[in-house]
Structures are given as structure tokens and as C-alpha cells.
Amino acid sequence: MASKTLYSQRDPALKKRDDFEDILEERRNFSDLRYALRCYTPVLYKGMTPCKPSMLKTIVLQSEQLHYVVNQVSKETGEATDIIQEEAVVILEEMAQRLQLSTIRFFAFTLSKAFKALFQSIRVNEEGIQRLQQAIQEHPVVLLPSHRSYLDFLLMSYILYTYDLALPVIAAGMDFLGMKFVGEMLRMSGAFFIRRSFGGDKLYWAVFSEYVKTMLRNGYAPIEFFLEGTRSRTCKSLTPKLGLLNIVMDPFFKGEVFDVNVVPISISYERVLEEALYARELLGVPKPKESTSGLLKARRILSEDYGSIHVYFGQPVSVRSLAQGRINRSQYNLVPRHIPAKPSEDALDFVSDTAYRLVRKQEENMVLRPWVLIAAILMQNLDGMDSALLTEQTAWLRGLARAFGAFLDWPDNEPAAKAVSSSLALHRDLVRTEGGRVLLTEQPPESSSPEEALFNRAVAALSCASYRNQILHVFLRPALAAVAMDAAATSRKDDVYGSFALLRDVFSNEFILCPGAASRTGVVTLARRERDTRDFEEACYLLMKCGAVQILKQDIVVTERGRPVLSFLSGMLEPFLQGYQVVCRYFREEANEGLTEKQYVPAVRSFAVKRILSDGLKCYEALSSDLQKNALAALLRMNALKKVKVVDLVTLKVNKTAVKTLEDALGCKVPVQKPVLARL
């Protein structure tokens, strides 16, 4: 069943993927109570040794792995082992799930009610369900859904319950535990809780990884976690976190299980419940602490229409097949397997490459509604545009998106005008039509100070951007190539690639781009070289495919019909280019000695506010903390900034020349040349 699909070439004819089935339809016609109480007999992993959650804990606490670390910590701290073992017990208590069918039934009932109120439909690809069912029996399964909403994991369990599939255990952030009741409910529906950061805490790490591995080895339940680590507030996929992926692959590397199937799952919301919250959060309005009463207040949202949800269960991927020829498993032969060891180079490399491919799979299988095309166009026309023109451009963009393999939920026979008008209706919170022009809606419409007005415009823009972001992955690589072509000194493919590579390096925290091109060991293997050019080759392929460019000998030549395509594509990235430049400028002009990371976000934000107000810049994305953090990471990665530790304080030290070079390159002020690159 599971295969190496992660390596499959993009299917050029991605018109129709699997058929989706609306699971709410049955709920609307039949009793929710009976549904919640129905007989539930999922198929299980063939090698499973049945055990209770309490038994799991015992296994973990008695494991050699944990004993080893307990002894180690005891030696290091001088604390007695039983005290440390006791600590381990406490950690595990705090962490462990207590999956109970009765809780699932409770959720099956209440969520049925809620979902029916909130959503028009919840559509699931049935073939994916069948594949999953098969995979679950064969090998331990890891479910990797995309993460856009708190709803994600309840929704996942709900769907699995509906299809009589084994209920997963889910890695969740500790913040949920702030809400006593809800936290415990989630625990009883299979959530286990992990601290957000536990840096050097060996004991915590040991308990945690052993707990996850024990569940995996025993085939206790499918293990579910979010590769992105946290909900993406921008609706762009986040660069994957590797910790848990490493943990779930380890038992395979060490031969403790024959194989592990990982299943990328794409959950696409037509409207995310948290929509309005996210934009504010990105703008620095503090995130409300998760509290039970807060969630209850959220009942208000029950009265709104959130459209449809599409859940696409991707092809299960066999870790064994992926690792074939990439991981030398005999490297684990010489040390007892219970002794914790840093993952080897090849393992790290493999895990990060796999994570990247899995997130891209999630992206590719996101179902896109016409509205995201509209949002992408509106983002390039923030002052509003003629509605007829919008319709025309939407139809045009639909063609381009299709050529690039987008998974569009837009029936062939539905005319653009209709798609546009119904999208506008559903998103009336965000857009309005006034005198034939479509405009972003600012709330509240009248504002007192210019800052407040700016803030309101920014909320609208970032909300709209979150929809554009959903389709960004489709255009990303060609768009980077389009920008690179503008920036490159010549149209020679080499030169364009040079610019492309710089952009890719700059934006590798911002977007899902192929990681690890630069080798750690200095040995450039064939696989790495392939990876180095993978994104670029894909961009060229797509641009040629849609007829925007031709590659003649060594040159990339723009065709006549390619011009609007390329200009639209570079326009799509413009806010990011500008945003990064604002950050660069901030570091050149304002950042003073002794700036800490903590001070950075508010400081750069107020700098951006000034720039926008004084320079008439339209780049609201520069206000987004997400972009600001990504830009910071990029500057650090590229050595334009350094972290300096003075006593206990970590401050940022700026290399102004390097920052300037980068800023100019992003502004296309100087063509990027190799020496410039080298200096960075």
C-alpha cells in the first residue's frame, strides 16, 4: 500500500483526484445520538499488543531507555535515582493521554451538533480512508495533518471515529492544559501533552520520546502530530519541526519495527474559525490565553457560516522505502539501542528532507476554493478593483493555477462570475462591493488616529493575505524564478539560478523550500546537488509548461504571453520582498547596540508603522510578526546578524554592510553577482 510517492513526479493531469464524501450529510439525516453510541470496532495493527494507557506508562517507566537516563541524570546532579525516577513519573503523569471511548462518543455527539451549525459540509476523500485502513493493519501509522485551527485534531478523531478507524493519540501543546476541564477532556480523547520547550532537559526528553516510541512499537494507536508544530496563523505552511518526526522514525532505523507508515493529511478550511484572531495576533494584539471561558465565548461564532472543510488523506508513505539507500541502518549495531545518541548526519538529513517533502504533500493536497484566487488578485489591488476585471482576472488565474497543478475545487461548468459572487458573499466580513468596485472591508470603518486606521487596514489586508497564502505554494517556485529573472544580470540560466538561490536562502523560513542544500560536512553528494536545484528546476518546468518562458540553449527567454504571467507572479512576492527590506532597513537605521530578540518585534513593528505612514508604503505584511521573525531568522542564518552573549543577555549584533547588500539584492537595486553571494 504505502509507497515512495513522496518522490513521485508531479502528475501533469491533476484534474480530478479522489472523490470526496460529505460526512455531515448522514448526520443531517440520522440521529446523532445513535451515531455517538454506535458499535465501534476498528481494525487494528496486526502486531499490536493490546494494553491500557496505564500499562503504557508502566512500560515507559520500566524501560531501559529511561533507566539509563535516570542514572545519568542522577550522576550529573548527585540526586538519588528514586527521586529522579519520581520526577519522571510526574512528567509522564502530566504528559500521558487517557484515551477513552466514552469521551470520544461525547465528542461525536457534541461535535456533530457543532459541525452542522458551523459548516456546510465536511468532505473527506474516501479512497484515502481506504488506504489508511489498509496501512493501519500493516504497520504502525503516523498521521500528519496540516494545522490551521484548534479544530484540527478533534476533527481528525471525529473523522476516524466516523469511518471506524483506530483512534489516534495526539501530541498537543501544553497550553491546552491551562483550561482544566477542556484539557482533561482532550486527554481523554487521546491527546498527550508536551511542553513547548524543554531545551536541555534530558529527563523530559527521555520520558517523552520513550512514551511516543512505546506507543508506536506496540502499535497502540496511530500517532498524530503536527509537523508544523503549531497552528499557522498565516495559512502558509510552516517549516516543519523535526523533533517528533525523528522520534517516530527512530524505531524503524533501529529495527524495532519493520516499517512505519506516515500519512500526510491536508485539512483545508474554506474559512478558518480563528480567522479574525490570527490577523490581530500577527499585529501584536496579545493572543488571548487559552481559557475555558474563552472557548465558550467562542460560541458566538456558532452562528456564522464557515463554508466547507476538505480533508484529504494522502497516500501513506513507507519510511522503509524512503530510507532505502539513504540510511545505513547498521550504524546502530555498535551501541546498545537504549542509550540515547544524537541522530547521525544521514539520519538528520533524511528526516529533514522527508519532513520537507511531507509538508509539500500536505500543500499539494490542499483543496483550494475560487476565493483564494480572488484573494491573490485583491492582494495586488489593495485599493480595490473593478468587479468585472476581478472576474476576468480570476478566470485567467484559474487557468494558470491549473497549469501549475493546483487542486482547485471549482467545477468546470461553474462560470467565473458565479464563483466570484458566491465567494464574495461568503467572505462579506472581508470584502464588499461598492459601485462596481470590490474593496477590502475595514472594521471598524471609522478610526480616530492614523495608527489605528493603519492597524485596521492591516487587519483586513492580513486576513485577505491568509487566503492568498493558501495558494501561494502553487505559484511559489515560478514566482521566485520570476523575481530572479528580474534581478539577474543576464538571462542566462546560470545567472538566474544564482539569483534564485539567493532568494531561496533568504526565504527558506518563510516558505516551504527544499532544505539542506548547503552540506554540513562539505561533501556535496549527488543527492544534495539534486536537492540544490530541485526547486529551480521545478520552477523552470512549470514556466515552460504554461508557455511563459522558453529555454534556448543557456538562456531563459520570456515569451509574449509570459509577460503578464511573470509580472503577476513577481507581484505576488512583492509584499515579502518589501517586508524583508523594511526589516533590513530597520537594522541599518535604527537597531541600536544591545537590542535583544525580545525587543526586536515591537521595535521593528513601530519602525514599519512609521515607514508605511511616512513613505506611503503599502506593505502591511511588514507589520506581521510572522514575517518579522522569519526575516530575523534569515538574517541570522546568513550571518548578517549575530547573536552575542553578554553576561546573561543575548543581543543582536548587526553587520551593516551585509544587511545592506541583502537589502539591495531584494530591492533589485544591484544585480546579484556571485562575489556578492559569496560574501554573504
Binding site: G255, E256, F258, N328, R329, S330, Y332, P336, R337
Partner: protein, 650 residues
């Protein structure tokens, strides 16, 4: 005198012991057994006759199959009624009907008695390449009087071991490169002459012992252009002396296991070295492959048993100057010889440890609820260092297979069956018949101690949920050892091919390795288009302080496959990769031969390989012993070793 009493007692025990072995083998005992000789060459002709029954005839094909396993008179077949039957008179199972085998066979492999794949009936000499003889060598050899032959049948017989692909080809009547000539030296000096002449005339020599190799070790290298001479050691089979003070025996290396034991038993002794192939494999072969016997827990493996080795090499004779029980004289030169697989010279004489025949033997068996518990029990037995002479743990599939070999009538079998039935009903009710597994045990020694030992082992077993399942069950398991090898030929008559292979692995990885390798086999078969799920099963056959030896059996129905042997080899290759990836060794006792040499570098590092290579280069610079086992072809290696870079394995 006390010693008189002792030897009388020993004689008595020896008689008893002889009966046991004879019972297993049921060979006619009227032939004159191997005698003990003075240390000079056998007189030609005269003695030859008298010991003919116990010496393998030069024309082996007269008693053994030329294209299958074992004695010509013993084979499995499905009779007219469709019942499986084992022919001949040699074994306990001989002449018996095995009523359940057919259902098991058809059910397990999806095979059918309707679909036969009979072997070529006789060897057609014309299909064999004519010998390429080195006339000068032949001339000089003739002068020595050492017997030789270049008849096709003799040459073909020595061109193979018992790997699947070797037997498969024979059955199809296909012969690749075969030796051009066979010589039969009858003593050390004869070997010295042969090696001298071979060096002088640049002839390639391949030592041949019992021909039971399962590593392609006996296969003639395709690329060999010189004349190839097979040195058959079977006529060097005398026990030259027995030293009762030191408990050693000095034996010619061509002697085969069953003869060695038989002869020693007559004097009240045994070596205790009992590889499953002991009916045919030779002392020299054991030394050359680092063989392991079933009862190594008491007697040790071959490297523990040898005290002194004499080997003839192109550089001369290598041996130590004394028989001290242990020496610190630099790296032990025996260890260059042990496992040399015929690449350095011919082992001609060996001094081996011997032991008085044990007073008492007892079989036993334990049933465990599942394989995991069984392995845990074996591990504990090893931890407490109380392993019986032999302890083997079969997985569920092998347990089922064992059942399929139940004969119709026989006193010991019926009693066992009834016993088992009873035990089933009373004791094993809680056991899932699709998960349970069985360990068979063999205890040896002083009666009282055996009983004590037995109790200790059963007590340990009980703590892992193991229930004693009777002596007969155990005895039957060991008895089947010798006949199981005949079964592959039966499978091959009906589209089923298979093989066993082995590894050694640390305790903590035994279960993971077993599971993963078995599953890998199933997967690979599926991927390669095998229509029916294969038989993929394993057993733990030896325990050590730090790990165990694991045996895999793997067989499948090849109907519908264009090139079954190739598929088979791909699957075995994948299985070996899986073994290595799971911390298993390249081999516990079968050796490397040519079949596994691609993994040698990975297994022992390129420096390690370079060491072996440099020994080879010194001992045999002209590659007279050119069977090309162990080390990859010369140049490849040299470069790799010189560069000192590990070449990543494919």
C-alpha cells in the same frame, strides 16, 4: 585397577551411545569401522578394501545422489495415493508414511501434486565441458601413484555444494565450470606432493571435503583459465592416534562426522561435534569453514575443539610445534586456518579434543505461549549459563511444520502423539495454536546431574510460561534434523524452492531481527511477483553469553516465474541485507564462500580485509588455491586496501 574399570565402563557407555547414533542413522553396522592407524600413509589397495564400508567411495555417485541431498536410497516422495513417504532403511523415518505432509505442503505453498517439475534423471556426460588438462601436471602426478580421474561424473560431483542454485542447475542438467580433474590423496605426504606439483605447473587446486558447503565455496570460478583440480580428502580418514591422558585424538582431515564419532565411540570417546551435516561433512571442511555443532554448549565449536592443525600450503606446511592447550605467541595462527575456506591450503591432520562418551542422555521439550517468551527463556538460560547440550527454539510456523512430519505408525511416534494430544487438552488450552512455539532440549552427562540440570531449565522455562511437553517430542525434533535436508528435493519436484541461512546476533536484537527478516522475505517475494506467500520461518539454534544463532528457512512456490533462481537469489540477498541492518552477522557458521563475499568489507572493515589479503598473498602468491572464496578478486581489493577508504557498499 581403577583405569581398567574405567575403560570397561566406558566401553559399556560407548556401546549404548553407538546404539543411539546408529538408531538415528540406522546404518548397517556390519561394515568394518574406521581403524586406528600408525602415522604413515595407508598401504594402497590392501587396507582400502577392508574399510570400504566406512570410507566414502571415490565414486560418490554410487551411494549418493548426484543432483540432490544425501544417500540415493533415501528420498521423500508422494506415492500413488498422494501420501508422502520416506524411502530407504537408513533412518528412523525410513519406510514411513507421513499422512499430513501433503496438506501442509499444498496449503503452505499453494503447490499441487498435479504440477510436477521432475529432475533430469541421469547425468549426460556430453553436457559437461571436456576437461582442460595440464599435461605436465598429469604426467608428474601419474608418477606419484596418487589416484585421479577426469570422468565427467566425478568432476560434476565435485563442482558444487548444496546451495539452491547449484542443485537447481543440476536438476536441469546444466553444468557450468567444473573441475578438470579429481585427485584422491590418502595421506598428508600425498597432499604435499600434489601441492608441490600444482605450484610447479600452475594448476588451480580446490580442496573438497564432504561437499556440504552452502556458500558456493566449491563452485569453480568462471574466470579461472588454468586447469582446476579438486582435491578430494575422503580417503584420508584415519584416526592416527588417541591420547587418553590428554584426551585428544589425532585424525586425518578427510574423515566425515559420523565415522569419526563411530570410531571414537568404540574406544569410549566422542568429540561431541555434531553439525547437522555430520553424516557427510568432514573434519577438514569444519576447520575450513569454522563449523558449529549442535552440542557446542558442552563441547564447543570447532575452534574450541582443535588443539593442533596441520595444513599444506604452497609455501610449505604450517603447524605449531607443541600441543599446549593455550599459547600467547602472537595472533593464533590457527585462526588464519580456521575459516580459510580452502583459499590457503589443504588441512590434512588435526588434533582434536575428545571426551568420554556421556553416561546419560535425555531429550526434552517445552511449549511457550509465543516466540517472544521462548526467546526470553533462552536468554535467561544463557544468562544463568545453564544451557543444555542443545537447546533450540522453533517459531510457530516450524512447529506447524513439525506436525506435518508426523508419521503414521511407530511406537515412539504414537506415544508421543497421544502424549501431545493429552497435554494439549489438559495443559495448553490457554495457548493460541497460531502463536505457540516449541523448544527442544538435549541434556547429556552424569545421570544425576542431567536430572538436576533438567529441573533447573524447566524451572526457568516455567517463569516464562513454558510448559514441559515431553521427552519424545524433543527426541523427534532432533531425529528430524537429518531427514529435513531431504525435503528440499521433494519441494523441487513440485515447483517449490527454498533454502536455509543463518546468522548470529546479540540477545537484545534477536526478536527484532527475526521479525524483520521474516517480513522482509515476505515483502520481497511479493514485490518480485511470487504468487503465493512464501514460507518464512526461523529458529534460534544456539545460545551464547552475548547472543544467539538464528536460522531462517525460506521457501516458495515458483509457478509463473520466468527465472525462479534469480528471484530466489534476490530475496536471499535482501534478507541478508536486512540481517546486517538489524545487527546480525554475515554468518555464524556457514561461512562466506562466494555467496556472501560482497559483504566482507562491510563486515570486517577494509583494513581487516587487507590483513586477510596479505596473508593470502604471502601463503599463496600464485593463487594455487584459487577457489576465490572470502576475498573479492585480487586487484579490486588491493586498491581498496591501499587507499584505506571504505568503499560504500551498494
Amino acid at each position: 585397577m581403577a583405569s581398567n574399570y574405567n575403560s570397561a565402563e566406558r566401553q559399556r557407555i560407548a556401546q549404548q551411545r553407538l546404539k543411539i547414533i546408529a538408531g538415528h542413522l540406522q546404518k548397517d553396522e556390519d561394515g568394518e569401522p574406521t581403524r586406528i592407524f600408525a602415522n604413515d600413509c595407508k598401504a594402497e589397495a590392501t587396507d582400502r578394501h577392508s574399510s570400504s564400508t566406512s570410507t566414502m567411495p571415490k565414486r560418490r555417485q554410487e551411494v549418493m545422489k548426484w543432483n540432490g541431498w544425501g544417500y540415493s536410497d533415501s528420498r521423500f516422495l508422494f506415492n500413488k495415493k498422494g501420501q508422502a513417504e520416506f524411502t530407504g532403511k537408513r533412518y528412523r523415518l525410513s519406510g514411513m508414511i507421513l499422512p499430513s505432509l501433503k496438506d501442509w505442503f499444498e496449503g503452505t505453498f499453494g503447490a499441487s501434486l498435479q504440477h510436477k517439475t521432475p529432475a533430469a534423471t541421469s547425468l549426460s556426460s556430453s553436457a559437461v565441458q571436456p576437461p582442460s588438462l595440464n599435461e605436465d601436471f598429469v604426467q608428474d602426478l601419474k608418477a606419484t601413484g596418487i589416484p585421479y580421474s577426469h570422468e565427467a561424473e566425478d568432476r560434476v560431483f565435485r563442482a558444487h555444494g548444496h546451495c539452491l542454485h547449484e542443485i537447481f542447475a543440476l536438476r536441469e542438467g546444466k553444468f557450468g565450470r567444473v573441475p578438470d580433474m579429481v585427485v584422491w590423496p590418502n595421506c598428508h605426504d600425498a597432499v604435499v606432493k600434489i601441492v608441490e606439483l600444482a605450484s610447479k605447473h600452475n594448476v588451480c587446486l580446490i580442496p573438497y571435503g564432504g561437499g556440504t558447503s552452502v556458500s558456493s565455496a566449491l563452485e569453480c570460478p568462471q574466470e579461472e583459465t588454468r586447469s582446476i583440480v579438486s582435491v578430494d580428502t575422503s580417503q584420508m580418514n584415519r584416526i592416527l592416534w588417541i591420547d587418553e591422558k590428554n584426551l585428544t585424538a589425532h585424525v586425518e582431515a578427510g574423515i566425515v562426522g559420523q565415522e569419526l564419532e563411530r570410531a571414537l565411540n568404540e574406544s569410549g570417546y566422542c568429540t561431541g561435534h555434531e553439525p547437522d551435516s555430520m553424516e557427510f561433512s568432514s573434519l577438514g571442511g569444519w576447520v575450513a569453514t569454522r563449523a558449529s555443532g549442535m552440542k557446542k554448549n558442552i563441547y564447543g565449536n570447532i575452534e574450541d575443539l582443535v588443539v593442533h592443525i596441520r595444513m599444506v600450503t604452497p609455501r610449505g606446511v604450517i603447524e605449531k610445534s607443541c600441543q599446549g592447550p593455550r599459547m600467547s605467541t602472537g595472533p593464533d595462527i590457527h585462526h588464519f586456518i580456521l575459516g580459510s575456506e580452502g583459499t590457503l591450503g589443504v588441512v590434512t591432520e588435526v588434533t582434536m579434543k575428545i571426551r568420554p562418551v556421556p553416561e546419560y542422555q535425555k531429550y526434552g521439550s517445552v511449549v511457550f505461549p509465543n516466540f517472544e517468551q521462548g526467546v526470553a527463556c533462552l536468554r535467561e538460560v544463557a544468562r544463568q549459563r545453564c544451557a543444555p547440550a542443545s537447546i533450540r527454539l522453533m517459531d510457530n510456523a516450524q512447529f506447524q511444520f513439525g506436525h506435518a512430519l508426523k508419521p503414521q505408525v511407530s511406537s515412539i511416534f504414537t506415544s508421543f502423539l497421544d502424549g501431545l494430544k493429552n497435554i494439549y487438552i489438559t495443559k495448553f488450552k490457554g495457548f493460541d495454536p497460531h502463536r505457540l512455539c516449541v523448544a527442544t532440549l538435549l541434556f547429556e552427562g552424569n545421570r544425576e546431574r542431567v536430572l538436576q540440570h533438567e529441573k533447573q531449565v524447566y524451572d526457568i522455562a516455567a517463569t516464562f510460561g513454558g510448559l514441559a511437553a515431553g521427552e519424545d517430542n524433543g527426541q523427534r525434533g532432533y531425529m528430524l534434523t537429518f531427514v529435513i535436508a531431504y525435503l528440499r528435493d521433494l519441494g523441487m519436484d513440485y515447483y517449490v524452492i527454498g533454502e536455509s541461512f543463518e546468522t548470529s546476533v546479540p540477545w537484545d536484537r534477536v526478536l527484532d531481527l527475526c521479525r524483520n527478516v521474516k517480513e522482509r522475505i515476505v515483502r520481497e517475494c511479493k514485490d518480485k511477483g511470487v504468487q503465493f506467500p512464501p514460507l518464512s520461518t526461523c529458529r534460534v539454534t544456539q545460545t551464547y553469553d552475548a547472543g544467539a544463532c538464528v536460522y531462517f528457512y525460506f521457501a516458495f512456490n515458483y509457478r509463473g516465474l520466468a527465472d525462479p533462481v534469480h528471484v530466489y537469489e534476490q530475496v536471499e540477498h535482501a534478507a541478508r541485507e536486512e540481517i546486517l541492518a538489524n545487527g546480525g552477522s554475515l554468518s555464524h557458521h556457514h561461512g562466506v564462500g562466494k555467496l556472501r563475499k560482497q559483504w566482507m568489507q562491510e563486515s570486517i572493515s577494509s583494513v581487516g580485509l587487507g590483513m586477510l589479503k596479505s596473508v593470502k598473498d604471502y601463503v599463496d602468491p600464485d593463487n594455487i588455491f584459487g577457489n576465490r572464496n572470502l576475498l573479492s578478486s585480487r586487484n579490486q581489493h588491493r586498491t581498496a586496501a591501499r587507499a584505506g577508504v571504505p568503499v560504500s557498499p551498494q
